[in-house]
Amino acid sequence: MEYLLNQLVNGICQGSIYALMAIGYSVIVGVVGMVTFTYGEIMMIGAFGAFYSFQFFGNNLALAIVMAFASSFLLGIVVYKVCYERFFNAPRHIALLCTIGFSMLMKNLVQIVFGPEQKPMINIINNATYTLRLGSVAVDFKLLQIVVMLLVILFAVSLTLFFNRTRWGVALRAVSQNKQAAYMMGINVKRTAMLGNCIGCGFGGIAGILLSIYYYTVSSTIWGNFSMKAFSASVLGGLVDLRLSALGGLCMGIIENLGITISSATFRDVFSFAFLIVILVIRPQGFAAKKGSRV
């Protein structure tokens, strides 16, 4: 029981990182209207940005997060120019294959530039552990987990505010709902789509730094699986809805961590993908209320 509860806490923490990834992913898919397979590499660039920020500018978490956001944001511009801009009116699989190509390109370029080995991420948050006693059951919280969860909530709330309270956010929502109509309202659709892509990428970068702090490592090769998790979580939420995607990510984190308590840790990915497939069989639209996906 105690072990299960602790795993639940781990699951919620990991799930909240997945939720942040899924939110970024859904912003990209919603605004641009096309899926991406470069998300893992975008997260990796964010993590590397943070890694070098720690190396050159000292142990400043806020600065590292800004660096991660900025580097992924800038990479988002390149991704948009290479993979999306020309293909708005083409069949969807063309942009998809283009992102797969770009992901291969980034993976190998990063291995050449930054080296193929795994780099240790510095332990920015100390290893304090707080224990919550519920009667006879003790649940451990690491400080790291609390910080990660708080950061995820902070970013999710600020993104929601951005989408609902600013002119840019409204323009992004308009483009995500209907490009043609947005165009008629005088919105620069291409620029807004690029902004949406970059914001989604930036959130991917922040998720990347949180993951690399959580696992204490940065490397060029471990990110492929996480991008698929982001994709799956976003699919669970119906691909375009931010809140449901976040819920999907949270569920996946919990299912994974509860799953590996009853089996071995190698089955982590099996649980998340099996969960995805089962949900899609029962409800093809994911958690979304109706079939509204245009992708």
């Binding site: 293909f87 283009c98 190509g101 291969m104 390109l105 190998n108 699919v235 089955f267």
Partner: protein, 333 residues
């Protein structure tokens, strides 16, 4: 170009027989064992890419998990031949059927889904297959893999030499091309192509899309399983990491570069990719960069691939269509 095509259509049988004869003599002319090995790889991946092309290029579904079906074939062959000593030639269809069954399992939940949902499910299924192969130690050998897979019998030739194993791949490749060619010209193949071009129109013309889509999936998976079965004795040792998603993306890159929706495309793609990765070995990681740039360039310039079906939805927005004009909309207004 049209002259070449006209020439080809006129002397088709002779030309194809000549190519086949040249391929038969190849391992005796090329004496260096390394090059024969490359030739084997090209044939192997040409058939594997062909099986993926049967799914992606002909029915327009986006399967990203071909490595999973490939793995099923390879593991079925390895397990049955090392444990029970089943004959390789018997195992070829058996592993094909196993892979096709898994293909059906993957296809069934995805019948309601389309496009990107299908891709993520196939990708997830391929990962699940790989992880199970990696962890199910009593059967698949876990991370250690399966060693000493017996070489197949081929008229008493010692098939542990690539020179003779080459003929097994050639046989499977030719068989695949012949069967697929017949299938594509039948009712089934036409149904697949109609689904690719416009699913709603196909449905309205009475094509049972879900039936033909799952059939298509099973067909592609079957051949991937057969190729996997031929692959296992060739490398003599299999383990789970040989069937990662990168292998799947590699095969996908072949049909992207070579061309989708034609039988020639995957063969060309397999040749280009294998020659490129083997000849640029001295460039180390840079060759994958070049390779990725080629994929992106291909999407920019010729989305259907070098030898792809140009008159199809695969070619993107590049098909010239007659502009729709409403009569008298302007002239009288």
């Amino acid at each position: 170009m049209s002259k070449v095509q006209a020439f080809y259509h006129k002397h088709r049988t002779i030309l194809l027989l000549a190519v086949f004869a040249a391929l038969c003599v190849l391992p005796f002319v090329v004496t260096k064992a390394l090059f024969v090995r490359y030739a084997c790889n090209i044939l192997l991946f040409a058939t594997l890419a062909g099986s993926l092309n049967a799914i992606n290029g002909y029915s327009g579904q986006m399967c990203l998990g071909q490595a999973g079906f490939f793995a099923i074939g390879a593991y079925v062959c390895a397990i049955f031949s090392t444990r029970f000593g089943v004959n390789f030639w018997l195992l070829l269809p058996i592993s094909g059927v196993f892979a096709a069954m898994v293909g059906l399992l993957v296809a069934l939940p995805t019948l309601k889904l389309q496009g990107i949902y299908l891709s993520i499910v196939t990708l997830g299924a391929s990962e699940i297959i790989r992880i199970i192969a990696q962890t199910w130690e009593p059967v698949t050998g876990g991370a250690l893999g399966i060693k000493n897979i017996p070489y197949p019998w081929l008229f008493g030739l010692d098939t542990f030499r690539p020179k003779y194993y080459y003929f097994i791949f050639l046989l499977i490749g030719v068989l695949f091309l012949l069967v697929t060619n017949r299938v594509l010209k039948s009712r089934v193949g036409r149904a697949w192509i109609s689904i690719r071009e416009d699913q709603i129109a196909a449905k309205s013309l009475g094509v049972q899309t879900s039936f033909y889509k799952s059939l298509n999936f099973m067909y592609g998976a079957f051949w991937a399983g057969v190729v996997g079965c031929a692959y296992a004795p060739f490398v003599n040792y299999i383990e789970a990491s040989q069937f990662s998603t990168d292998t799947g993306f590699n095969v996908l890159a072949m049909i992207v570069i070579g061309g989708q929706g034609t039988l020639l495309g995957p063969i060309l793609g397999s040749m280009i990719v294998t020659v490129l990765t083997e000849s640029l070995r001295f460039l180390d990681n840079w060759r994958y960069v070049i390779y990725a740039v080629i994929i992106i360039m291909m999407m920019w310039l010729r989305p259907q691939g070098i030898a792809g079906a140009s008159h199809s939805v695969l070619a993107g927005g590049k098909i010239k269509r007659k502009p729709l004009r409403r009569e008298g909309a302007r002239s009288h207004g």
